[in-house]
């Protein structure tokens, strides 16, 4: 749709391989249907009628990790759950990305105790951190958009960028 408008009646588009591959990856990114705790309810909210995540080509949640590109760690990861999260991540095919949704997944949040892993980045490598307890659906959508932009910047040699942190504007220290 968009490409015909851009190309006009020329019939030919010149671009780089990187751009085409990355464009393809961003616009059909399938998240893993994987909820842990409170943030999963907001993730459901983001996919439901009001926020409608399918506007960004993200509505197709895959229940099997073998068909998913993106893992949204939505909620707190306990010590008992951590090996399961890692196994799910390992089962996802390359290329794959991870969003740590919410404070608990990002850093343990308010649960600084024996049971909770203090940040899912101890278990799986994270691309985007979304702050909030739980983050609003808008914040999650912002995080996903940020990830899409990050994927667009990816190089064909496979070098990955540093993680992105999305915080509430009031929390940012200038």
């Amino acid at each position: 749709m968009g490409i015909e408008e851009k190309a006009g009646n020329l019939g030919i588009v010149t671009t780089t391989l990187e751009t085409v591959v990355n464009w393809g990856r961003t616009n059909a990114m399938w998240p893993l249907l994987f909820g842990l705790a409170c943030c999963a309810i907001e993730m459901m909210g983001a996919q439901a009628s009001n926020y409608d995540l399918s506007r960004f080509g993200m509505e197709l949640n895959r229940a099997s990790p073998r068909q998913a590109d993106l893992m949204i760690v939505a909620g707190r990861v306990s010590r008992k759950m951590a090996p399961v999260v890692r196994r799910l991540y390992d089962q996802m095919p390359e290329p794959k990305w991870v969003i740590a949704m919410g404070d608990c997944a990002a850093c343990g949040g308010i649960f600084n105790n024996y049971a909770i892993v203090q940040g899912v980045d101890e278990v799986v490598p994270v691309d985007v951190y979304v702050a909030g307890c739980p983050p609003r659906p808008e914040a999650l959508i912002d995080g996903i958009m940020m990830l899409h932009q990050k994927v667009m910047r990816e190089k064909i040699n496979g070098k990955k960028e540093a993680p992105i942190r999305i915080e509430h504007p009031l929390m940012q220290v200038k």
Binding site: A48, S78, K80
Partner: protein
């Protein structure tokens, strides 16, 4: 006398299978499975497609909330209660606040009582909407989910208006509310009340007489009243068996005895009856919210926290004028209040069943022990009893109808 009720453990199913002593197949379901509503793991013993035995394995979301609360002061521990049953944070707040208030023996102002009832009933509506949406989604009715979340967003907007947060509001504090209700609160709630009854009719149009829905729910997952009580089943699941036990009526709290509402009950104790009971409960909640809104309007503005300065901080303007107020404020936020030694148990009717809170005080500003009687955790025990002899596909409907919230199961 029927066979004795047993609650199997995963090991009891796995070990004989590994030793090769059984003819049946053992299947692992979860902790990552779309229809387990979170991180519930089930170990199934199957004979073909028929469930011979099933054992839930919980603890994948164990958060250590009870231990963490022991290291916080009473006021600070409120935020932890929100995150247990994350579909009904206000019910958790209320239960904990009532337990601590019982220890302290403080009076709550009328306005705060009404606001508590009003908001917990809205919370029940929003929780039941998530249950309805996901239950229908599990049985492949996608559109109900989209409709249910449409109304849920409206309720969350009310919570946001009141407290600034959509889900984790922490709005009920010990001694009353965190702050007063905003000026446009009543009109917003009335707007919502105007549309909600017709929206409930809409859900019923989609499901109640739907042949596919009836096929999957009628006569499935039956439990009788006696076994339900023995297994500690509470909430809509118990009432679907015909037992009219609701804490709001049996041991009223927060002034529920002054509202007129009915307890809907079922007859057969199957999934369909649970569905009917919950839908009827939603209508009753709308009724209670209506009454509470009227009372709030009649009552007019007033205090929303207890005047007891040892429990709740004084209003901000007093602090600049009165030395005592400043001292009270300082003492409350640095040290906290000290309830007398003793223990108190309070139970309320949360959307999932009887939510209890047991608090032990040793006379210090931090609770010695806080225990929550989590309804989801205890309701889950009856899964094996209901699922035996049914198909695997029925199990999916069964889990959804029990409506467990794993955050509360594991705490």
């Amino acid at each position: 006398m029927a066979e004795p009720i047993t609650v199997p453990t995963p090991q009891q199913i796995i070990e004989p299978a590994l030793a090769g002593r059984t003819e049946t197949m053992v299947l692992n379901m979860g902790p990552h499975h779309p229809s387990t509503h979170g991180v519930l793991r089930l170990v199934l013993e199957l004979d073909g497609e028929v469930v011979v035995n099933v054992a839930p394995d919980v603890g994948y979301l164990h958060t250590g909330i009870e231990k963490t609360m022991e290291s916080k002061t009473y006021q600070k521990a409120v935020v932890l209660t929100d995150r247990m049953d994350y579909l009904a944070p206000l019910s958790n707040n209320l239960c904990y606040a009532l337990a601590v208030e019982k220890l302290l023996d403080v009076e709550i102002p009328e306005r705060a009582q009404i606001a508590r009832v009003l908001l917990t009933e809205l919370q029940r509506l929003s929780s039941h909407l998530v249950w309805l949406g996901t239950h229908a989604l599990d049985l492949a009715a996608m559109s109900v989910f989209l409709y249910a979340f449409r109304e849920r967003e409206q309720i969350l907007d009310i919570f946001e208006l009141v407290s600034g947060a959509r889900m984790m509001t922490s709005y009920f504090r010990i001694g009353g509310l965190a702050y007063d209700l905003p000026a446009d609160f009543i009109p917003t709630v009335e707007q919502f009340l105007a549309i909600m009854p017709s929206r409930i009719d809409e859900y019923e149009d989609l499901l109640t007489a739907n042949p596919l829905w009836l096929e999957r729910t009628v006569g499935v997952g039956v439990i009788d009243a006696q076994s339900a009580i023995a297994l500690g089943l509470t909430g809509a699941n118990l009432r679907a068996t015909g037992v009219a036990y609701d804490v709001r009526k049996a041991m009223p709290y927060s002034g529920y005895e002054t509202y007129s509402f009915e307890i809907p009950i079922g007859k057969n104790g199957d999934i369909y009856d649970r569905y009917r009971v919950r839908i009827a409960e939603m209508r009753q909640s709308v009724k209670i919210v209506q009454q509470a809104t009227e009372r709030l309007r009649e009552l007019g503005p007033g205090p929303v926290v207890t005047p007891n300065r040892k429990v709740a901080p004084p209003p901000k303007r007093e602090i600049t004028e009165s030395m005592e107020s400043l001292i009270h404020h300082f003492k409350l936020w640095t040290e906290g209040f000290k309830p007398p030694r003793g223990d108190a148990y309070v139970s309320i009717e949360s959307p999932r069943g009887i939510l209890g809170c047991y608090v032990v005080s040793d006379g210090s500003p931090k609770p010695w022990r806080v225990h929550f009687r989590a309804p989801s955790f205890i309701n889950l025990q009856s899964l094996a009893h209901m699922a035996k002899g049914r198909l695997v596909a029925d199990l999916v409907a069964l889990i959804a109808s029990l409506d467990p919230v794993l955050g509360e199961v594991d705490r």
